[in-house]
Amino acid sequence: MNDTVAGAAFILASSLRLAVPLIFACIAGLWSERAGIFDIGLEGKMLLSAFASALAAYETGNAWAGLAAGVVASVLLGLVHGFASIDGRGNQIVSGAAVNMIAAGATATVGHAIFGEGGRTPQLDTAASRFEDIVWPGAGTAGHVPLVGPLYRDLVSGHTILTYAALLCVPLTAFALYRTRFGLRLRATGENPAAVDTAGVSVRGMRYAAVVICGILCGFAGTYLAVAQAAGFQPNMSAGKGFIALAALVFAKWRPWPALATCLLFGFLDAVSIRLQGVVVPGIGEIPVQAIQALPYLLTVILLAGFIGHAIPPRAGGIPYVKER
């Protein structure tokens, strides 16, 4: 019995770890898309911030400097997308695709030019240069308490500060979007920018604000990958997580709390697929890992096609706003 609980706590804890970058990136995309800026470049921003944060953390030996660098890099790349989408009135999908390519190419090129290791940054081997797991008081002894003990030890305690930040950014986002004037205006910008303009609020300003918030959160996601989960940068280390986050965003129908739930679900699927590698399940046989890995994409396609509920994107999403003259 206690073994089962401990096993479950372990799986849940690793689900949470795998969900953290998804939560950051998904909430990032939510801010951008609710303001009417489609963003398929979450992946690229994550990758660039992973690189910048690993580089800064290695050079300074300080994880917080890494976070700052990751956020700045991601915001700058986000502003590139923002300029093309807002002032340039360009195609936001094309711009997002460009952001992904630029990030993949630039990180590997510059990383290789600096360190000569095919794009990898050196291992972050000092404690201060990484975000370490925080062990809550009594976590070690609490593990012996039946049921809640392992849950407290693995699920509540023992995560990096970024994990708690990811969980905190969901209620903050929900509050800001639904309970503040700024949030109302931002959501209106994504649905009916002309009305926002008529009310005397700058659509351009709202959209740039959304792009910057999106960049900050993607910066957290990338920093988590390189400076908390791993100890350094590797080319393409985001490995499609930005697209899973995008899938989660669609799956959650562009709402914060469902976004959290979806990201946790996708993180859980990821954890299970790692756990089930080569395991023979009685009665079913060996479950192919790829089948579980494909589930987030498959579920999103099915949901988007309206077979289970309907996912309707913000109405003005992807359309550049031009003031009438």
């Binding site: 002032d87 999908i93 190419g105 697209f243 790829q290 999103t300 988007l304």
Partner: protein, 380 residues
């Protein structure tokens, strides 16, 4: 748009893409310089590496073959107002069609087996693209998101099949057994050797001619047939198309099928022409190069072929450059590709308006009478 009308056609067709692509290359050059490599010598090396001798040219055209196929796939969808990001996955799944025919049709003669393999590739590629097309046309899904998801689905599906089902017995590699010799598309250097012309041995094969044929066929279809007219009408204005008795849903599904079939050319070139077996990730991002190529070529087959040649040079010359310059890796090409997509695609309107602004200013200088009043520019 008032500013766009002032732009002469030649400037719109030539100057805008040239200016945007030049900007992308200048920034690429700045990155090269920042790395500590002389951009001029890098450019020289890139050009000799891609055009210097018959071997270099052969490799350049071999890469260009892939890009023509994916570029056309993205371009034909553009013409119908659809953004097919899924060429990568469609080409990947098309490889499955090739492999199934080639692994089971070993007894057939080449003149039958190769066309059958190509048809299977086109059918599989088309099928993988038609599903997002149907979901968009009938269920209202967003084609961009669906095709992105289908890329990842293709990647997991093919990984599963190659690791668990198709892997050659006893092999540690996730790849099929080698195809029978009859399944190999003749390479250009063996054909030329047959008529007495000796050139270096390269992966360039008859698929290149197929790619050029596809470019011509795409042009004829889109600009010279009734269906092509309907396709462009749907792309320009779906509401007007529907009013004119055209079914946008039908066109969407049809165009996605054609787009997937064109993307399948990568599988023909790579799997049947070069590798002679199906292997993991043989598409190597060529589907995404197709986006850059289609944007740079303005969605027109001639532009696509020219842009593909340029990207073929980048890939081949870039490989040579990476070989000679230890500081540069082939990832540099992905960066340049991204810059091209950004400047030629996302910022296209900015370049057009900027150039239109220059044209609007110019006639006023020599003329003594005031220039006709135009609506003020649409950008600050």
């Amino acid at each position: 748009m008032a500013a766009a009308r002032t732009l002469p056609r030649w400037a719109d067709v030539l100057l805008v893409p040239l200016a945007s692509v030049a900007t992308a290359f200048v920034i690429g050059g700045l990155v090269v310089a920042a790395i500590g490599v002389n951009p001029w010598s890098a450019t020289r090396e890139l050009i000799t590496g891609s055009l210097g001798d018959s071997e270099a040219i052969g490799f350049t055209l071999y890469y260009a073959t892939d890009f023509i196929f994916t570029g056309l796939a993205v371009a034909i969808a553009f013409q119908a107002g659809l953004f097919n990001i899924g060429a990568e996955g469609q080409a990947y799944v098309a490889g499955l069609g090739v492999a199934l025919v080639c692994l089971h049709g070993g007894a057939l003669p080449p003149w039958l087996l190769i066309p059958l393999g190509a048809i299977a590739a086109a059918a599989f590629g088309a099928a993988w693209a038609v599903v997002p097309g149907i979901l968009q046309a009938r269920r209202g899904s967003h084609i961009v998101i669906t095709t992105i998801m289908f890329n990842w689905l293709a990647s997991t599906l093919m990984a599963y099949l190659l690791v668990n089902e198709l892997r050659a017995p006893g092999s540690m590699q996730a790849e099929t057994a080698a195809f029978p010799a009859a399944a190999t598309i003749p390479s250009i250097h063996t054909i030329l050797a047959g008529v007495g012309i000796q050139i270096a041995s390269t992966p360039l094969n008859l698929s290149f001619l197929l790619a050029l044929g596809c470019a011509l066929a795409t042009w004829v279809f889109v600009w010279r047939t009734r269906l092509g007219y309907e396709l462009r009408t749907v792309g320009a204005n779906p509401a007007a198309a529907r009013y004119g008795g055209i079914s946008p849903a039908y066109i969407t599904i049809l165009v996605m099928g054609l787009s997937g079939a064109l993307a399948a050319g990568v599988a023909i070139n790579e799997v049947m022409g070069v590798q002679n077996r199906l292997l993991l990730d043989f598409t190597a991002g060529y589907g995404f190069v197709g986006i850059a190529v289609a944007l740079m070529g303005r969605g027109h087959p001639v532009g696509v072929v020219l842009a593909s040649l340029l990207f073929g040079m980048l890939y081949q010359g870039g490989a040579e450059l990476a070989f000679d310059e230890p500081k540069i890796t082939r990832d540099m090409i992905v960066l340049v590709q991204g810059l091209v997509v950004f400047f030629a695609g996302a910022l296209e309107g900015v370049f057009r308006r900027g150039i239109a602004g220059l044209f609007a200013v110019r006639p006023r200088l020599p003329a003594s009478q005031p220039a006709p009043v135009r609506p003020s520019g649409t950008h600050p």
